[in-house]
């Protein structure tokens, strides 16, 4: 019965457009300009239901703007966007009924108590109190805030506020959860609790759209991601495939002391697949890091320290978006 209800809703929702039904988000040539600045420059992507999809990029890459357009609170300049078959600009309230949003900065209602934050937010969706009361208690438990139900929002720690914001975003049992840098500013314990909670939601079939600049977070949570820089998509794929494509299996990190790092590059020529000289260390990208290290010592070079590690998404990210600071 419930399944058929869901199925009929699916067909009803998707009738509005020609978007393929199995994709909950379809963006084509999505563009946003603020005056002369192009924040999002003709990006296209699709997100199938149930996927954890990451938007990675440095500050100012256009991640948050993309999130806002998905939520229908920012109007695109051109291109098309469909959320569950609906254009968020035309059907804002209806699209948002299926969205949960965790903004970059907590915007909890400081004038209300913790539990009331959940109840009132649910009322904004037009949900009845008979549904909201048990739901709020359930979510407080989910967010490990049951004993704070009657506290003021002011009195919560940063991690608690974040968990409450996430709990609040789930009050309407969204099909899509938008998380804009969900763990920025949290300590490692709080981050791991959040990751666990997000993982459980994914298991339920909630589609997660996540921006972050923590690469470990993206590797942990995302099935697939796009790397965005200056409003454009630089790469797209699963974390593992991106590492395969844009980096090597291992990385050898060598330190020769800050004076010699710059000049040693020529002497290391030919070792590994790629060489990168940084002020404090030299990186050799190689399939086999230990073998590369042997070649280095065979040339009579004696680094102060050496470290062989697995390639990570961070290597991919830095390669694609560069090492210079973005302001």
């Amino acid at each position: 019965m419930r399944v058929s209800e869901l199925a009929s809703k699916e067909s009803r929702v998707t009738n509005h457009s020609d978007a393929t039904p199995q994709y909950v988000i379809t963006a084509e040539n999505l563009t946003k300009r603020y005056g002369d600045v192009t924040a999002v420059d003709s990006i296209s992507f699709r997100v199938p239901a149930g996927e954890a999809f990451g938007l990675l990029g440095p500050n100012g890459a256009g991640k948050s703007t993309t999130m806002k357009m998905i939520g229908g609170v920012s109007q695109r300049t051109s291109g098309s966007l469909h959320i569950m078959g609906l254009d968020p600009e035309q059907h804002g309230p209806e699209v948002r009924a299926h969205l949960g949003v965790v903004p970059q900065q907590d915007n909890l209602d400081e004038e209300l108590k913790v539990r009331d934050n959940l109840l009132v937010y649910g009322r904004y969706f037009g949900l009845p109190m008979s549904y909201l009361k048990p739901k709020a208690d359930e979510l407080l438990e989910f967010a490990q805030l049951t004993d704070k139900a009657k506290s003021k929002v002011d009195a919560l720690s940063g991690g608690m506020k974040r968990r409450l914001t996430i709990a609040r975003s789930l009050i309407n049992e969204p099909r899509i959860l938008l998380l804009d840098e969900p763990t920025t500013g949290l300590d490692p314990q709080a981050r791991h609790i959040l990751w666990d909670r997000l993982f459980r939601l994914k298991e339920q079939g909630v589609t997660l759209i996540l921006t972050t600049h923590y690469m470990d977070e993206a590797e942990q949570l995302c099935d697939r991601l796009i790397v965005v820089d200056k409003g454009k998509i630089m790469a797209e794929g699963s974390p593992a495939s991106l590492i395969r494509e844009y980096s090597t299996r291992e990385v050898l990190e060598l330190r020769f002391g800050s004076e010699r790092n710059a000049s040693i590059g020529a002497e290391l020529e030919g070792i590994g697949e790629r060489l990168e000289t940084l002020p404090d260390r030299v990186l050799i990208y190689a399939h086999d890091g230990e073998a590369a290290l042997e070649q280095v010592t065979a040339r009579g070079l004696r680094p102060v320290t050496s470290l062989v590690r697995r390639s990570s998404l961070e290597d991919v990210f830095l390669r694609l978006t560069g090492r210079s600071l973005v302001d």
Partner: protein, 282 residues
């Protein structure tokens, strides 16, 4: 943990129903009551002191000017030509001023703060609410507050013996009308404001309007050209309207005053609605 299982489908279903009921464009979802309910809850838990102080302001003016100054002034000529006490003369004007102040405060400073600092609207607009729900909810709350103040102030007038006709009860709905005019305009104007310095311009307009709109003495003291200018300002119409009601004297001018506010409300709502996208949906 049941958040992970049971209720998921059931909840999803009710969400769908809620969404199905409202397909009224991107800015309105027929859920003003949720915004109003939030305002009442917030008032209950934190803002009630502000509310109480708003009630006392006109009462203090009435006591100091009406009773204090009134002792020197004696009786003055009311709208129908009859002699009334100075306190009875300024009391309806003070009520009009308080309706204006409350509505302007709620629709400008309050909205400005919630929009730019508390980020309250940002959170609301990520739900099914549209900007029009939020605007109407906030205006309704401002009017509710205005109605409470007006009721309290009218009661104080009664206790002080300044009410001589049952018509005076109509001052309460008339105050709400005045508040509506200012609130609908105030919100539209706030949408243009970016900084606190700009917000100060609002006070710059309000204070002279309070002092010179025939609040404490009749308009006839001014030269004709200044009279015309003041008659173009909204507060003067509010003052005159309430003053007429307070003594139960109705003339064709009463209809003009009411009409002035009806037009002001219509224009203000139009302005605010057209600015809502700019205000909220960047």
């Amino acid at each position: 943990m049941s958040v992970l299982t049971g209720s998921f489908n059931a909840g999803d279903h009710s969400v769908t129903d809620a969404a199905r009921r409202r397909r009224f464009g991107p800015i309105y979802s027929r859920n003003v009551r949720a915004v109003v309910a939030r305002g009442l809850m917030a008032t209950k838990s934190s803002n009630w002191m502000v509310m109480v102080s708003g009630f006392f302001e006109p009462v203090l003016y009435l006591i100091s000017m009406g009773v204090g100054l009134g002792a020197i002034v004696g009786s003055v000529q009311g709208p129908g030509g009859q002699e009334i006490s100075y306190a009875a003369y300024i009391a309806p004007a003070l009520l009009a001023v308080s309706a204006m102040n409350g509505a302007v405060y709620d629709s400008t400073w309050n909205v400005f703060f919630k929009m730019n600092f508390a980020k309250l609207y940002q959170g609301m607009l990520y739900t099914s609410l549209g900007p029009l729900d939020v605007a109407m909810g906030e205006i309704f709350l401002a009017l509710l507050r205005g109605a409470m103040y007006a009721t309290g102030f009218t009661a104080v007038m009664g206790v002080m013996g300044l009410i001589t006709t049952p018509w005076a009860i109509l001052m309460i709905p008339a105050s709400v009308l005045i508040a509506f005019g200012f609130a609908s305009f105030g919100m539209g104007i706030t949408s243009f404001m970016k900084t606190f310095q700009q917000m100060d311009w609002i006070n710059f307009v309000m204070l002279p309007m309070f002092l010179f709109s025939a609040t404490f003495y009749p308009l006839s003291v001014y030269p004709q050209s200044i009279q015309w200018f003041i008659q173009a300002m909204p507060l003067w119409h509010g003052v005159e309207l309430l003053r007429q009601i307070s003594v139960g004297v109705f003339t064709p001018a009463t209809a003009v005053h009411v009409g002035y506010y009806l037009i002001m409300i219509a224009l203000g709502v139009l302005l605010t609605t057209s600015r809502l996208r700019k205000l909220f949906l960047k």
